[in-house]
């Protein structure tokens, strides 16, 4: 092989690798690995359309490439005949795509009705409320209010009834199903049945202002025992004030005096409604709608500089000493 050919082969191989590398790995928000009935429906429809599209693509591109090669200008080529059209051809290539479309339209419309019909009677209801920039999840049947991490049992249908406190958001946990907008003054609904336990990432999918990209969520699908345990934990009242001691007791004092109570709810301590309910904040894996790990360090970072972590955040930084901060973090981390 001469140098030029080697370069060409090298370029081709590199391009192939770059292209194929997109196929490897299972990304946390890939719609191509669905884990619910809704996600499966979309995936099947997607693959149906991909195969039809691939067939059409190959046929049309072949015709185009053959025409370009076969009829390229060559010395001595005869002048082309002036053909103006063919009624038969026009009719056939109008009908052909129409027939292909029938094979695409029927499964499409079936999927639309299957994924957006009346939810089953036994579906568990979760109210989803979008906020700039975090998610509130309420379980009216269970009396639970939490934020940014939604727990649902595997194998059982769940219906999300959604609205927004401020601007339009969109609920999107890609592996579990399609997007559905979360709008002020309107109620929208999405129903799905998760296949199996796991933690699935999601995020707001409608541009909603400065920290739209920081509005993430987790859907934690558990087996029925795990879900029951989570419900029991959420139902447990926080430890009584007089049982607290040391840093934790001091942290509660900080929570009361530094303004936290104005916006946050902790059962028996505060009843603010502007920010997330913190009654069981210690049990979550992340804070600040999924942008920081829920460790002492992560929480301290968040409380110290909410605007730095999440531009535009409605939570202001509260002036406090490092001692107060670590006490507050210790208190919040204890709220399991």
């Amino acid at each position: 092989m001469d140098a030029k050919k080697r370069t060409l082969v090298g370029v081709a191989l590199t391009m192939l690798m770059v292209t194929l590398s997109a196929c490897t790995g299972e990304y946390p928000q890939s719609t191509l690995h669905p884990t619910s009935d809704f996600g499966g429906e979309i995936d099947r429809l997607f693959m149906t359309i991909v195969w039809w599209a691939l067939g059409v693509f190959v046929l049309v591109e072949t015709a185009l490439i053959v025409a370009i090669i076969k009829f390229r200008d060559r010395p001595g080529a005869p002048m082309p005949k002036h053909v103006h059209g063919s009624t038969l051809l026009e009719i056939s290539w109008t009908l052909a795509p129409a027939i292909v479309l029938i094979f695409i339209a029927v499964p499409t419309i079936r999927t639309i009705f299957r994924t957006d019909s009346t939810p089953p009677e036994n579906a568990m209801q979760v109210e989803v409320i979008g906020h700039q920039w975090w998610w509130e999840f309420r379980y009216p049947e269970l009396g639970i209010v939490t934020a940014n991490e939604m727990h649902v049992p595997a194998g059982e249908p769940v219906t999300l009834v959604m609205t927004s406190e401020d601007v339009i958001h969109s609920f999107w946990a890609p592996k579990l199903g399609g997007k559905r907008d979360v709008m002020p003054g309107r109620s929208t609904r999405i129903t799905f049945t998760p296949d199996s336990p796991g933690t699935f990432l999601g995020q707001c999918a409608e541009f909603c202002g400065e920290s739209h990209a920081n509005m993430r969520m987790r859907v934690i699908v558990e087996d029925s025992a795990g879900f029951a345990a989570w419900v029991a934990q959420e139902h447990a009242a926080p430890p009584a004030e007089e049982t607290l001691s040391g840093d934790i007791a001091a942290g509660l004092g900080v929570f009361r005096t530094k303004g936290c109570i104005a916006c946050h709810t902790i059962e028996g301590v505060a009843a603010g409604v502007l920010g997330p309910n913190l009654t069981h904040v210690g049990s979550r894996a992340t804070i600040a709608s999924g942008i920081l790990p829920n460790t002492a360090e992560g929480m301290a970072r968040w409380i110290r500089d909410p605007l730095g972590e999440k531009p535009g955040s409605l939570m202001p930084p509260m002036p406090m000493t490092e001692e107060e901060l670590s006490a507050l973090v210790a208190y919040l981390q204890s709220l399991n």
Binding site: H84, E90, A98, T108, I168, G178, K179, P184, G185, F207
Partner: protein
Amino acid sequence: MATNLDQHAATTATGPSGIWSWLTTTDHKRIGILYGVSAFAFFLLGGLEALVMRLQLSAAGNDVVTAEFYNELFTMHGTTMVFLAVMPLSAAFFNFVVPLQIGARDVAFPRLNAFSYWVFLLGGLFMNASFLIGAAPNAGWFGYANLTSAQYSPGLHVDFWVIGLQVLGIASIAAGINFIVTIVNLRAPGMRLMRMPVFTWMTLVTQFIVVTAFPVITVALVFLLFDRTFGTNFYSVSAGGDVLLWQHLFWLFGHPEVYILILPAMGIISEVVPTFSRKPLFGYAVVVYSGLLIAILGWGVWAHHMFQVGLGPIADSVFAASTMLIAIPTGVKIFNWIATMWGGRLGRALRGDACLPAGRPATDGHVLRRGTLPLRTGGRRRAGLVRGDLLLVAQGVRAPAQ
């Protein structure tokens, strides 16, 4: 007649140069060039904005720009590419080519044409001037209510966007009327509608979409401006307004806008392919009708931008089906282009057999020149159309060998 034409040519195509002559020109070719140059400049600006966005995204947690500026970048990138790059690029071709293709000396209202260009340019500059005071539009190129309300978008950001788009709308509607009048009234004698070049056809169709779709966004923007400035409640949920009203109005404009952008390009392809295949366009009438059909169907698909809104399975199905229907005329165009190439001689089309006025040296800027624009119609019959000094050569007619 000939004298007038010579004078006209003398002051335009070969007329005085210098900045003043360009600022005051009403010549369709010069205005076309101005549109093209401006569109390219805005295209570079929009590309630069995309480059910075990609730089920010090149690594997780990057700090190239602030969150706020990033939002301004993608808002202005989208708005710039749609309204300040692709639309004026089409306008460059409308201006330069359509009068030539129909054998008109200029557009029907040359001064209105200049007005359209300058209003477009000022609208684009006005919107971009917002960067200078750090208040560039930041609510997305789609500007969904109620994020655009005074409550959730304080400052001048959205006001620049609203007023800028309104100004651009004035330019587009004025140009749309101008070209409709031009194409309907100024065609050379004998050029019936179904003998018009396909590019002129697609221009006509596009301009009808412009003058019908832009009023819709105008209304939506007036509502928004009034909400922000005078305290009306069109999109205000707390006062009984509806955030979906914006989405319906925006996409009722926005989807026809897609065809405002694509139909001229399809028209260009329908000229280039036959010319460089040395064959007339295959299925001229079908290509024209499919363009018309795309424009008409384009009005019935807007809610496919709103599938995630939750309009319900019936509405979603109807709009899914209407959207699929557009694939048919679009496919038909592509099949006709390939059939045009089939049996042709693809390559250097205009070597010696350009469309030339019979027996006349083609030197005037208005007269078709050898090896420049491929100007042909796709009509069934071959016909040379003469008007004044202009000779418009319909398909298949060639100058005798020289």
